[in-house]
């Protein structure tokens, strides 16, 4: 029987093996891909076995560091399983893209991507604050090396930014975790269940700042642009697709359930910041000169939107935020891979160098169009469903909040349409004309297509998703919602 622990251990062990043994590129790539596919298969198995109820399932709970009262406690509910599934999918696609892109020292890069996956699984599944911290901070290590060794020209500055921002946040959270764990009645106990409701305002903000940086929530998004611009495409896909989701996920699955009264008390702060970030990010996305810039700022906007959805503290908001996390993960990962592919073909992601690429390239045009339509939340798309849920929640909260949020959704349409037309339509640039890049095909397509297909699947049957996470999402916010009298 495959447990959650095995799910975490397999990519970690595979990563160590790949790091230690210098396989050739092909061998290492196919081995990593095989491992990630196996993990993906196991995750699908979990989804199949999953009961759509509120509580945590598939629990592993053993003593880890006895003198500190630390336990290895992992389990999943609907929300975390959704995040684990999307992580497994995006990791597989990222590995596929890395294999296609032929990186130097590839065995190490594959290993580090797998290691990131393991840490992310731990973040999503941990039920013990110590284990959660290990995942939350630990994922920085492989991402840091991936950025340093395989990053673009500005990678040094980007790395310093990422690490300084996120390490500051997580270390503050560490103090909060220590407070919760060490003041537990009956000796040190870092289990999340034991920490519910025991934190004070200081501890709440220690956690909240860490999560806000990771999400990123306006105004703590300074690290995002350099990181997304300089990471290699597959790493940018993992970063924006799932690593940043760790922050939003933690808001929903750690902060709100652990601090119900503070979450209710300070919900307005996050709603306000989320609204500002949503509008601000969308506006800036509209002004970006290159493909990555648009996706990066739209990520900031969308993540702010998701945080807003969480702090509505309503069922619709929570389910919508979860759904939007998954949708945005798929969309932004796929967009980064498409932009990355363009960069490898044209040598630049700048809109000035692109344009008119739809002609003679039907596959590229179709994939980009589908992604663009999803990103701008065309009715019928899964993104529309999730954004609609959050908007509905916002209207329930206050009609004017709903109105402001709707404005942001319009902005999203503007920047995405600009992205599509700048790449696919417009006049063909001189550079693109001379280089005459081929159509999206084979390896790169295989890496991007699964993401698109899953998006289409979710668009066709969104209820398949929401039915499974509804109960869990409701359970996560119910204590805080009760405080709010809802």
């Amino acid at each position: 029987m495959i447990t959650i622990s095995t799910l975490i251990a397999v990519p970690a062990i595979a990563a160590v093996v790949l790091l230690v043994i210098p396989f050739a590129r092909q061998a290492a790539g196919y081995l990593a891909l095989l491992v990630s596919l196996a993990v993906l298969g196991a995750v699908i198995g979990f989804i199949y076995r999953f009961e759509p109820v509120a509580g945590y399932q598939f629990s592993d709970d053993v003593s880890w560091i006895a003198p500190l009262g630390v336990r290895w406690h992992v389990a999943v509910n609907g929300v975390s399983l959704a995040m684990i599934a999307v992580t497994a999918l995006i990791t597989t696609c990222a590995l596929g893209f890395a294999l296609w892109a032929k990186r130097d020292r590839s065995h190490a890069s594959f290993a580090l991507i797998l290691l990131t996956e393991a840490f992310l699984f731990l973040v999503f599944a941990a039920r013990d604050l110590f284990a959660f911290y290990v995942g939350f901070e630990g994922m920085l290590i492989p991402l840091l090396v991936l950025l340093v060794v395989w990053g673009g020209a500005g990678r040094k500055f980007a790395t310093l930014q990422v690490i300084a921002y996120t390490a500051f946040g997580t270390l503050l959270m560490l103090l909060g975790i220590l407070y919760l764990g060490l003041t537990a009645p009956g000796g040190p106990n870092f289990d999340m269940t034991a920490a519910i409701g025991r934190g004070n305002d200081w501890v709440f903000f220690a956690f909240a700042i860490a999560f806000a940086i990771k999400s990123p929530l306006f105004p703590l998004h300074g690290w995002v642009l350099p990181a997304y611009r300089n990471a290699s495409p597959e790493v940018a896909a993992v970063l924006s697709g799932v690593a940043s989701k760790a922050g939003a996920f933690a808001f929903l699955a750690v902060l709100v359930p652990l601090f119900p009264s503070q979450s209710e008390k300070y919900a307005w702060v996050f709603i306000a910041l989320g609204t500002i970030g949503f509008l601000w990010g969308s506006l800036l996305a509209f002004r970006q000169p290159d493909g990555r810039g648009v996706v990066a700022y739209s990520s900031i906007a969308q993540m702010s939107f998701i945080v807003l959805g969480i702090f509505l503290l309503s069922d619709r908001g929570a389910t919508g935020a979860t759904f939007q996390m998954v949708n945005h993960a798929l969309v932004s990962a796929a967009l980064f891979l498409v932009v990355g592919w363009l960069e490898t073909q044209v040598g630049s992601g700048s809109f000035a160098q692109l344009g008119g690429l739809a002609r003679r390239r039907p596959v590229l045009a179709t994939v980009s169009m589908v992604l663009g339509m999803a990103a701008l939340a065309v009715p019928g798309s899964s993104v529309f469903a999730s954004e609609f849920l959050i908007m509905l929640g916002a209207f329930e909260n206050h009609w004017w909040l709903g109105a402001i949020v709707a404005l942001g959704v319009v902005l999203a349409a503007m920047y995405m349409l600009r992205w599509i037309s700048a790449i696919l339509h417009d006049r063909e640039s001189a550079l693109a004309g001379t280089l005459n890049p081929p159509d999206l095909k084979k390896g790169a397509l295989m890496a991007i297509l699964p993401l698109v297909l899953v998006l289409i699947g979710l668009s066709i049957a969104p209820a398949q998703f929401t039915d499974r996470v509804d109960a869990s999402a409701h359970a996560l916010i119910s204590a805080a919602a009760k405080e709010a009298g809802r």
Binding site: P67, L68, L144, T159, I163, L171, L172, L174, L175
Partner: protein
């Protein structure tokens, strides 16, 4: 006739073994010219293992004092003995391929064993007399080790500076102990404690004595503002010695401080704790800021170790069971990271045939992937990233601070940690700088194997300690009970 005090020889067997080993080597030195390296290393390793073996064997024995109460043998002594022996073994492995080992290996190892004996005795000291003798035994030998590379002016300068400044520290300590003697009528820790518990800290002699003792020990630990020797000495000393110093000296000096503060001066905690708070804050912040502007790797890590000493002070300030356990575990955790990091620098110096700077290591990581990845782990360990033993050390010390109502010191430590990332990342970025060709000669120098072995051993210790630290935490908790504050 003066009656000599009874000596429990078995209790002090670890220290005796080290001293006997040292003298045997010194005697042998003149006969084994040319085979110094092999014989010296072998005798050194055996002696260290024997000393650790005696300590482990005595682990379950009840605590005891001997030599008329001047020496106390308890689990803290045993843990320190094992730790110092471990540092010594790793240092011998690092030193094996060093060219000075070929010429004067026996003397080098003998001095190292004497240093270890002195450090063990510090942990066993129960009076200021023993403390001072032990301190001088290890310091004097260490001065020589720093100057051991006689052909290098930097090494001589390092030894000389350490000698002068270290001696000042010792003198101030003795001066302070004399005042305390004047106020309490005893050098013994327990007697001082008894006297102070009755009299309190009102006496000016007590205050003066405490301040001077603190300054003396602060010199040895290398916290601000008594840190000025650290960077120069670390930079000039042979790198294998630097690694040993940063790990073992820190253990010995901190344990000395703990013995004095927790065994002799707990009654006047209100006098010394505020002073240490200020020193800790200043040291953590300024130590790490000073490291930011360095380009020489050894200097950079020297300032990092100053910052780490400031962090260690938090555990002393908090005290109690949690604080002392945190201190001991943190010191133990720091050792493999420090020795490992300096071992990697040693390796680089041999590759590069020159000092290690941010420029010289540019791109070097791609030539020596194993060493460079190990370095990344050690550096992330300094910064306290999860899955390294440095994280657990940070976790227990910060935990004790949060529990002991010093959470704000924890916040300062967090800020200091973020500053430290600034320079730790610079090293990592430079090692993996794709743009640069390191252009080093990859000659297979003799002794490279043992250096690599030392690096991999440190790596294993750092990772195992980071993933499964339970046993180490138990030992640290037992050792903490030896100190009055831990009981």
């Amino acid at each position: 006739m003066i009656k000599a005090p009874d000596v429990n020889w078995l209790a002090i067997a670890p220290e005796m073994a080290l001293m006997i080993g040292a003298f045997v080597l010194l005697l042998l030195a003149s006969f084994i010219r040319g085979r110094d390296r092999g014989i010296g290393t072998a005798v050194g390793l055996i002696t260290l293992v024997v000393s650790a073996g005696f300590a482990i064997n005595a682990w379950t024995e009840p605590a005891t004092t001997t030599m008329a109460g001047a020496v106390q043998i308890d689990q803290l002594t045993q843990v320190v003995t094992v730790l110092i022996a471990g540092c010594g073994i790793l240092t011998l492995l690092v030193s094996f391929g060093w060219n000075r080992m070929r010429e004067n290996g026996a003397e080098f190892v003998a001095l190292l064993l004497l240093v270890a004996a002195g450090m063990d005795l510090i942990a066993a000291s129960n009076s200021f007399v023993t403390l001072f003798v032990a301190l001088e035994l290890f310091s004097l030998s260490l001065y020589v080790l720093c100057a051991f590379d006689g052909k290098s002016k930097a090494s001589l300068e390092s030894g000389f500076k350490y000698l002068v400044l270290g001696t000042i520290g010792s003198m101030v300590l003795v001066y302070g102990a004399a005042f305390l003697y004047g106020a309490t009528g005893s050098f013994g820790f327990e007697a001082i404690n008894t006297a102070l518990s009755k009299a309190g800290s009102g006496d000016a002699l007590v205050i003066l004595g405490t301040v001077l003792v603190l300054i003396g020990l602060a010199f040895k630990i290398g916290v601000m503002p008594f840190h000025m020797w650290v960077a120069d000495v670390y930079e000039g000393a042979p790198t294998n010695v630097t690694g040993f110093m940063s790990a073992a000296t820190k253990i010995a000096a901190f344990v000395a401080l703990a013995r004095v503060l927790f065994d002799a001066l707990p009654a006047i905690r209100d006098t010394w704790a505020p002073a240490l708070v200020i020193i800790a804050v200043v040291t953590m912040i300024l130590g790490n800021i000073s490291a930011l502007v360095q380009t020489n790797l050894k200097r950079m890590l020297a300032y990092a170790s100053v910052g780490a000493a400031g962090f260690g002070l938090i555990a002393i300030i908090v005290g109690g069971e949690a604080g002392t356990r945190g201190l001991i575990f943190y010191l133990a955790a720091y050792a493999p990271m420090a020795i490992g990091a300096f071992a990697v620098i040693s390796l680089h110096e041999r590759d590069h045939k020159g000092i290690a700077t941010l420029d010289s290591i540019r791109g070097w990581g791609f030539d020596r992937p194993v060493a460079a990845v190990s370095m990344v782990v050690f550096l992330l360990g300094f910064a306290g990233f999860p899955l390294t033993v440095g994280f657990i050390g940070k976790f227990v010390v910060l935990g004790s601070a949060v529990e002991g109502n010093y959470a704000w010191l924890g916040v300062v430590a967090v800020v200091a940690s973020v500053i430290s990332l600034g320079y730790l990342l610079r090293i990592i970025l430079a090692m993996f700088d794709r743009g640069a060709k390191s252009g080093v000669m990859m000659a297979a120098a003799p002794g490279m194997g043992s250096l690599n072995l030392a690096i991999v051993l440190c790596l294993a210790l750092v990772l195992i300690g980071g993933i499964l630290p339970g046993l180490g935490l138990d030992w640290a908790a037992d050792a903490a009970k030896s100190l009055a504050a831990g009981r």
